[in-house]
Amino acid sequence: MAKEYRTIRNDVALPYQWALGSTWTRFFDGLKEEKILATKCLKCGKISIPARSFCPECFADRMEWVEAGQEGKIMTWTLVNAKYYGQVKDPPYVIALIQLDGTDCGFSHYIGGIDLSDLKKVRQKLKTGTKVKAVWNPEKKAAIQDIEFFTPVK
């Protein structure tokens, strides 16, 4: 059936000021110094990244700061080829869940520094278990993009 009834465009733009709190402020300050900081729960021992103010596993409040490795293993990944509203990067790009050395969970970021034009080659290069390492953005803003991406190591 033809679109008989009208639609109206209505865009909503809202400004925010999000408080980071002390734990996340310190995490991002760590990125400025090219350190990836994690926290270890003093009760159950779980090492969480990004750093947490309390343990998501056992709810305990006492956490100790540890430095995670700059290398890790790919847990899973995907090549984003679709466009959608509000996207930060233009497709195609790869997002991945990475377990950094010395941590007990996955950490989201981009995989970069590889040729994305041939999907077959990408799939050969990137597998669960592929070792990757952080490549830093020369410009630091105390944001997650201070790490530019993770790239496979030889």
Binding site: L14, W18, A19, E57, F59
Partner: protein
């Protein structure tokens, strides 16, 4: 009603401008306090209910996901309820239904808001439809002022009398907040301060309206069996009521406010209350605006319609009066919207269990808590008692 339910623990954050913490940590502050108050650990909680303003408030679209860790929801059933200002009562009722039904013994209910992170009035504007009403929105002040004007016109309340009574309400709430270590605004004001404050939407002035607060509140509901076993002084749910009205603002008469009136009537019916002014010892009413507070007094049957200003001028509702309202300082001094209605319930629970510290009213056996949501659209009431 199903089986009896009690509140066995409450927790609140220090409300105010909490830019020292990220939002999840703010929620955890309240949850930790509630667990400590009840003497329980996360493993004792059977399920969690969360409520906040719609996602546009803080820009993170699904707060029940965001706070899963902070409210200990890992591996538990979770429910999310959003009814804007009445959220706090809605989530409390949800926790009550869950335990009363017999499907759970101990439920954690959490309400929170971080108003410093977004634009409150712009967010509330999105509650209006974009086709007919949103263009003319003037935030909460616009709506509540129109309602108050309509009420004063209908009951022929002279402007000066309304102004005087509203000012006394502001003074009373600000005074009460001085005794509440959790309250956001803790400054004394005089009647002259209120009458000369900056105009927001005439006749409503700055000291007639609530602040925008960051804060969270957590309340633990338990079955009769569990409450009697683990809690020295449970606060028993004696009655609840919740009513909604039509969506378009002009459709019902907000000066006699059917949803507020009927929600209270239902709660009174369940609690066996016939004369609220006499039988209630304390009322924690949702009161972001002084003028509007008087409409609630009338809807809840504390006084005849059109006479609330007279009762206020007599001192009926202030500390030491016949029915003290908002000894906590109310919403007027603290308003983290998603938490506010639950804070009213927590404060009522503290009053009936004698745990309200410096703001304790003597000999409280029955307390009313309430919250309102939407564009004057929903009202929820919960009556708490010291005896089952």
């Amino acid at each position: 009603m199903g089986r009896a339910v009690a509140i066995i623990g409450t927790g609140q954050t220090r409300h105010g401008r909490r830019q020292d913490v990220c939002y999840p940590d703010l929620v955890k502050e309240a949850v930790t306090a509630a667990l400590e108050d009840a003497g329980l650990a996360l493993k004792d909680i059977d399920g969690v209910v969360l409520g906040t303003m719609p996602s546009m408030m803080e820009g993170v679209s699904s707060t029940h996901f965001y706070f899963a860790d902070a409210m200990g929801a890992f591996n538990k059933p979770v429910m999310k309820v959003e009814t804007c200002g009445s959220t706090g009562q809605s989530i409390g009722h949800c926790g009550f239904y869950w335990v009363s039904s017999g499907m759970a013994d101990i439920i954690l209910v959490v309400g929170s808001e971080k108003m410093s992170e977004g634009d409150g009035q712009a967010t509330m504007t999105t509650v209006f439809d974009p086709f007919f009403q949103r263009t003319f929105a003037a935030g909460a002040p616009g709506v509540f002022t129109m309602q108050s004007m309509e009420w004063m016109y209908r009951f022929r309340i002279p402007e000066e009398k309304g102004r005087e009574a509203a000012a006394l309400i502001s003074v009373s709430n600000h005074d009460n907040a001085m005794n509440n270590p959790y309250a956001h605004i803790r400054t004394r004001v005089t009647v002259d301060d209120v009458k000369n404050a900056r105009i927001i939407t005439y006749p409503v002035r700055l000291l007639d309206v609530c602040p925008a607060s960051d804060g969270a509140c957590a309340v633990i509901f338990a079955s009769e069996e569990k409450a009697k076993k683990i809690c020295k002084k449970p606060a028993w749910i004696k009655g609840i009521g919740f009513r909604g009205e039509e969506f378009f603002y002009g459709e019902s008469d907000k000066s006699i406010w059917m949803s507020a009136t009927e929600a209270a009537k239902e709660a009174y019916r369940q609690a066996g209350i016939r004369n609220p002014l006499k039988e209630l010892d304390v009322a924690e009413i949702y009161n972001p605006f002084t003028y509007q507070e008087m409409i609630f007094y009338e809807c809840f049957g504390f006084c005849p319609r059109g006479e609330a200003p007279d009762y206020v001028l007599k001192g009926t509702f202030k500390k030491g009066g016949q029915l003290p309202c908002c000894p906590s300082g109310g919403t007027l001094c603290t308003n983290p919207i998603g938490a506010t209605g639950l804070i009213r319930m927590a404060e009522a629970a503290l009053q009936v269990t004698g745990k309200a510290g410096d703001r304790q009213v003597e000999g409280v056996k029955l307390a009313l808590s309430h919250a309102m949501g939407g564009v004057d659209q929903f009202n929820g009431v919960t009556i708490l008692g010291s005896r089952l």
